[in-house]
């Protein structure tokens, strides 16, 4: 039998709340983190709104030294370090002292889509001006894709695998499954897993250009992200980071650590961009297989699922995702589990979405509630033809939760699905 894996720490930096306490309140109250950004308007974007975490200069200094902040220009690494160190502290694990051995049983898988485009831009301007010698020492550290895991690795003294995964919007959920598998196979005892996403025009521009962001609600930021609504008009870009401290059950029990939930199993696959699948659309069979394989890996029946945290980005394709869930679980109507999408509150946090949404999932599981799926008073009838509207709470409900599932789907036709249980 493989090693059982539990969650002993959480950390989050989200557009609607920074830190677990603030984020928990925000999701309970359906607080939106979507705001208007004049910069996007000035740059002639079609979409002028987004979700960006609010972090003070003082707050940064709780995590970074003055020296580390010299020439530092990376929101992605900032968010990732904050969420990651919060998860470590929440789990009650100490970083290795400077002159001690590394923590050889402690690893990191912290995903990112791209690292520090603002820093890259700074460097590009200097290089193009013939001033490469003036880039300074930390251009590479911030621009390399694994920047976030490298920063965390040094702060913690992690001595097991320290890496960054990247699978578009499936990145965060994938990181958690990869960490779970590493512990389950006995190669590590503790894994800090999560993902981060930078923000701003250089990350969001490409999405704006292909018109997948909602450009029709610039005047109403808080109503703009509308998962499962008939008037869903594209996603609203977001950013931030989420982090989980995964640990073998044995290690957690030895330490007397608080246990949020067990990672029962998961699955990662790809549709190969075949059939309906493409660079930007999901192959339905692959999505359904991913969900079914996660159930099999967790060794549970579809009927045991109490709640689904959907990917549901607030495009017209949300109904297709619901159809995939219905077919994979073979459940519909009133028999369908509760479902919601965090993206109504935070926007689509891209590579960070999976990990932030898993944190939201675990908080609901721990506290037995389902946060309101806002902005869907006009539910898409294609969705209500498949599942009962009462399964999509528009106000917070309190309900006992035991077994929950989270899935994320990304560009490149990649899928990740993970199942958690509270014992």
């Amino acid at each position: 039998m493989s090693t059982r894996v539990v969650i002993t720490g959480l950390g989050v930096v989200a557009p609607n709340g920074v830190g677990i306490a603030e984020f928990t309140e925000a999701i309970k109250n359906g607080k939106s983190g979507i705001r208007f950004f004049p910069e996007l308007k000035d740059l002639n974007f079609s979409c002028h709104i987004g979700g960006i975490p609010i972090i003070s200069e003082e707050k940064k200094r709780e995590y970074f030294t003055e020296l580390q902040l010299r020439n530092f220009n990376s929101n992605g690494i900032l968010y990732g370090v904050m969420a990651g160190m919060d998860a470590l502290n929440d789990a009650g694990i100490q970083a290795a002292k400077k002159d001690e051995d590394a923590l050889y049983d402690f690893g990191i898988i912290f995903g990112a889509g791209t690292s520090s485009p603002e820093k890259f831009r700074e460097s590009i301007h200097k290089i193009d001006a013939g001033n490469t010698r003036r880039l300074g020492s930390n251009s590479v550290l911030q621009v390399m894709a694994s920047g976030v895991s490298a920063y965390l690795g040094g702060m913690i003294g992690a001595g097991n695998m320290v890496t960054t995964n990247s699978s578009a919007c499936a990145t965060g959920t994938e990181a958690i499954i990869l960490g779970y598998e590493r512990i389950a196979s006995g190669k590590a005892k503790q894994m800090l897993c999560g993902s981060t996403s930078d923000d701003g025009p250089y990350i969001w521009g490409g999405f704006d250009a292909i018109r997948v962001m909602n450009y029709k609600s610039n005047a109403n930021p808080k109503n703009a992200s509308r998962p499962m609504s008939a008037s869903a008009a594209g996603f609203v870009p977001g950013s931030g980071a989420g982090a989980l401290l995964l640990e073998s059950l044995e290690s957690a029990q030895e330490r007397g650590a608080k246990i949020y939930a067990e990672v029962l199993g998961g699955s990662i696959n790809s549709g190969g961009q075949r059939n309906e699948g493409s660079m930007t659309a999901a192959n339905h069979t692959a999505v359904q297989n991913c969900i079914k394989n996660a159930l099999a890996d967790a060794n549970i029946q579809a009927s045991e699922i109490d709640y689904i945290n959907g990917h549901l980005t607030a495009t017209t394709k949300d109904s297709v995702e619901i159809q995939n869930w219905c077919e994979a679980l073979n459940r519909k109507g009133k028999d369908f589990p509760y479902i919601n999408s965090l993206k109504g509150l935070t926007g689509h946090c891209l590579t960070a979405s999976g990990s932030i949404e898993v944190v939201a999932t675990i908080l609901q599981l721990q506290n037995n509630f389902i946060f309101p799926n806002i902005n869907c008073d006009d539910l898409d009838t294609r969705i209500t033809n498949m599942i009962s509207s009462e399964k999509i709470p528009q106000k917070k409900i309190e309900v006992p939760l035991k077994t929950v599932v989270k899935a994320s789907f990304g560009f490149g036709d990649v899928n990740a699905c993970v199942i958690f249980r509270k014992n």
Partner: protein, 96 residues
């Protein structure tokens, strides 16, 4: 020679080793690891070996020195930079 150049020359000429050291000290201080005290900085202390400054940060120290003293270090200058005294020697050569 214009008066402006003359006065600039005067300023540079007037910079004693002590003046340069005083201007250099806060630059180097910013890159000290947290567990090294600024009082440990001596004219002959090895920046990376004794003061434990990350060798990558030598590059940043040089950039800050270039800005502060309006000079430019060549790659060879960087190779010969080990101590505060080395930095002072290089700077003196550049502003002479």
């Amino acid at each position: 020679m214009s008066t402006r150049v003359l006065s600039l020359e005067k300023i540079k000429m007037a910079m004693t080793t002590e003046d340069i050291y005083a201007k250099l000290l806060p630059i180097v201080k910013a890159y000290l690891p947290e567990d090294v005290d600024e009082n440990d900085i001596k004219p002959d202390s090895d920046l990376t070996g004794e003061l434990n400054i990350n060798s990558a940060h030598l590059v940043d120290i040089v950039l800050d020195v270039e800005d502060a003293f309006d000079v430019e270090f060549a790659n060879e200058d960087m190779e010969s930079l080990r101590t505060m005294n080395d930095a002072i020697t290089i700077i003196q050569k550049k502003i002479a």
